[in-house]
């Protein structure tokens, strides 16, 4: 077993209104970042877990997202990085 560090991004699904993202977009526009299109505000989780391999850690993270960390109705998730810690 090796301890892995998982970086998980969870964001509101595209097409679902994200009022926080919209507020941030408007603020960025008013600061002059006129090129900004869409902003979505989500969550970033760092999970440490023991697993046999990086692939197993990734599979475990996927299962965590499907069962608890992300809402399948409204959110998408992405396992951004798996590192040995």
């Amino acid at each position: 077993m090796t301890r892995f560090r998982l970086a998980i991004h969870i964001v509101p699904r595209r097409g679902i209104l994200d009022p926080q993202g919209k507020a941030v977009t408007d603020a960025l526009h008013s600061l002059g970042f006129s090129g900004v299109g869409d902003v979505r505000v989500g969550r970033y989780l760092v999970v440490e877990t023991d697993a046999e391999s990086a692939d197993a850690a990734r599979a475990s993270a996927r299962s965590m997202c499907e069962k608890l960390l992300a809402n399948p109705v409204t959110e998408d998730f992405e396992i951004a990085a798996v590192e040995q810690s």
């Binding site: 679902i16 009022p19 109705v73």
Partner: protein
């Protein structure tokens, strides 16, 4: 008749629900701690409002894994009536008892205010005491009440008459101004396809006595108790 009121850490409308059932209507009510595995032979389960688990991760996301939720899901699957109010609605959606999800209010503000609702269907055990298109008044108090579901689910809810309450103006008009939180099609309350799980963001248990400013929550509770009593007699 006996109501089981589930208490999660962070529930805060449990006593209101208890008072509605017991103090106002004179039925039995019992509290069930979320770590229990016993609904105490109740005839109806209430998932009350509040902030279970501090709304960590998402409202209801952690409460749905509380030990007692296994019994609540079994109870619902067996056709038992479940009244899921506010945070209870969020928990019921997370638990898969109801379709869709409740997201942050469009305004990003917590809203505590009376709202007007239009009763869309009276063909359920929860709404038989109202009449169609009746406009009722009760409070909302939530930060995450924007009902959303994919387009097919919304069409199905509408087509099957499972949207029970909609936010409207005092005259009963469905307008965007009357929609406090940005819910799709002003949806305030829905019932599952079995007709036995009601989820709603407004608080009927806080509209039970003239002192509370409205008694429009009373028919909801009496409807379901009368339906249960009729079932016992049948």
């Amino acid at each position: 008749m006996k109501a089981a009121i589930v208490r999660f850490p962070g529930s805060n409308c449990d006593e209101d629900a208890f008072h509605a059932v017991s103090g106002v209507l004179g039925h039995d009510a019992v509290y069930c701690w979320h770590k229990d595995h016993d609904l105490q032979d109740a005839d109806i389960v209430v998932l009350p409002g509040g902030f279970s688990y501090g709304d960590y991760l998402r409202p209801g996301a952690i409460a749905r894994f509380s030990p007692i939720m296994r019994e609540v899901v079994d109870f619902a699957k067996a056709g038992g009536p479940v009244l899921a109010i506010c945070n209870g609605f969020q928990i019921a959606c997370e638990a898969g008892l109801l379709p869709g999800a409740l997201l942050r209010n469009e305004s990003l503000r917590f809203i505590s205010a009376p709202v007007h609702l239009r009763v869309e269907s009276v063909a359920t055990q929860f709404t038989s005491g109202y009449h169609v298109d009746q406009v009722i008044r009760m409070p909302i108090a939530h930060g995450d009440g924007r009902y959303t579901a994919d387009a097919d689910t919304v069409e199905r809810l509408e087509g099957e008459g499972h949207v029970l309450f909609r936010y409207v103006t005092p005259d009963g008009e469905r307008t965007s101004g009357a929609n406090p939180n940005g819910s799709v099609r002003n949806i305030a309350g829905i019932v599952n396809s079995g007709g036995n799980v009601l989820g709603m963001m407004p608080h009927p248990e806080r509209a039970m006595e003239p002192l509370m400013g409205s008694v429009d929550g009373v028919p909801l509770f009496t409807s379901v108790f009368e339906s249960l009593l009729a079932g016992t007699r049948a």
